[in-house]
Amino acid sequence: MRSDVSQFDLTAPETLDAVLTQLAAEPGKHTPIAGGTELMVALGIGRLAQRSLISIQHLAELRFIRVEGDAIHIGAGTTFTDIRRSVDIARDLPLLIQSASWTGSVANQNRGTLGGNICNASPAADTPPALLAYGATITLVSTTGRRTLPYADFHLGYKRTALRPDELVHTITLPRTFADYRHYIRKVGTRNAQAISKVALAAVAKMDGDIITDIRLGAASLADRPTRCTAAEVVLISQPINEDTIRAARAALASEAKPIDDIRSTAKYRAAVAENLLEEFLRSLL
């Protein structure tokens, strides 16, 4: 059943400050909308619960990619196309380029934003595994100021985040310290374009000979939210890669994974494939 669009309101205040003022004046009443690739789908099928929306799509203040010292700052309104065009991101954060390239199609990438991907908070979203592997931080803004937290702490549960109703995501910051790391990402779905992941794993690791000196793993669809796989990381740090450590890492990943059965896949398949992806990455390091 299609929505009656006359029942919905949408405004586009000219500045970020004006948007924040409106959000603060009536917390929870208004929902920000950027590229619309999620909310407009809900509207189309008559399932958009929010009646009052505020467009942030036109805010140049939220659309930037800046390199500063050891970090890259990406504005929440940056589109997937912007990310794919960035030579700085391609050089320092190739996993983010890869994940942006298989988010929807070109038309969706021209509209969808990094901030929207995060705030929509799907456990299957494409960019979170890369952001988790790279140890991103996230800066939230409101009329009362800014706060920055580790991105790993942003997702609180299924489609629940640390974002307050009066806040917007402003910046996602990623370290540029992975030049001597090995990078890995793989999405398993029915196909790359358009399809939503059954499971995905992003990983970076630093090696000293055959010893893993640092490793970070981010996964999609292994829990009710995008997750960093710390149990598997712990059993691998300072270890050589051999049959024993691969087995231990698989077991650790299985212990922390809490996938579900749904229309796209089963919990059993997801857990097995996640272990296989981890093993594939570890063997590629040898």
Binding site: L10, G35, G36, L43, G44, S55, Q57, A107, N108, A193
Partner: protein, 162 residues
């Protein structure tokens, strides 16, 4: 209702519409430009693709208000003075169009692709059209049409999407 002004196929229009009305419905119902089709209505099939400030977008996912001040190009704006655009001509000659529902979106996706990559590889063609579903052709004739269109350079028609 909100007053919205944009340029559509070279003509400036001002219309009063609910601000959350889908651009697709504005095009079809308010402007009677029915060349833009609705397929899935959820951004997966590309039948409603148009160019917004030169970027390919699915018009079913664009609220009308976000088109304020934009330059829009729909399938009606692709041909000039009754003359088919080379992309349209190539789709016609190569059998890239059958039932026609996906064709407007395919043509605009092709135009966007060729704006970015004037000499696209097969991989670039496949990725550029991955958001446009066709249930008739099996895609091969569409790819051939795009390859053929890429070989035609006509300065008179360059930049019609802008």
């Amino acid at each position: 209702m909100t007053s919205i002004t944009f340029t559509i196929n070279g003509t400036t229009k001002t219309i009063d519409v609910p601000p959350m009305k889908r651009l697709l419905d504005v095009l079809r119902e308010d402007l009677h430009l029915t060349g833009t089709k609705e397929g899935c209505g959820e951004g997966e099939c590309g039948a409603c693709a148009v160019l917004l400030d030169g970027e390919l977008v699915n018009s079913c996912l664009v609220p009308a208000l976000q088109a304020e001040g934009a330059k829009l190009c729909t399938i009606e704006g692709v041909s000039t003075e009754g003359r088919l655009h080379p992309i349209q001509q190539c789709f016609l000659e190569k059998g890239g169009a059958q039932c026609g529902i996906c064709t407007p979106g395919m043509i605009l996706a092709t135009q966007h692709l060729l704006d970015k990559y004037p000499n696209p590889t097969m991989e670039q063609i496949q990725e550029g059209l991955a958001g446009n579903l066709c249930r008739c052709t099996g895609y091969m004739r569409i790819f051939e049409a795009v390859q053929a269109a890429a070989t035609i350079t006509d300065p008179e028609l360059a930049g019609t999407s802008r």
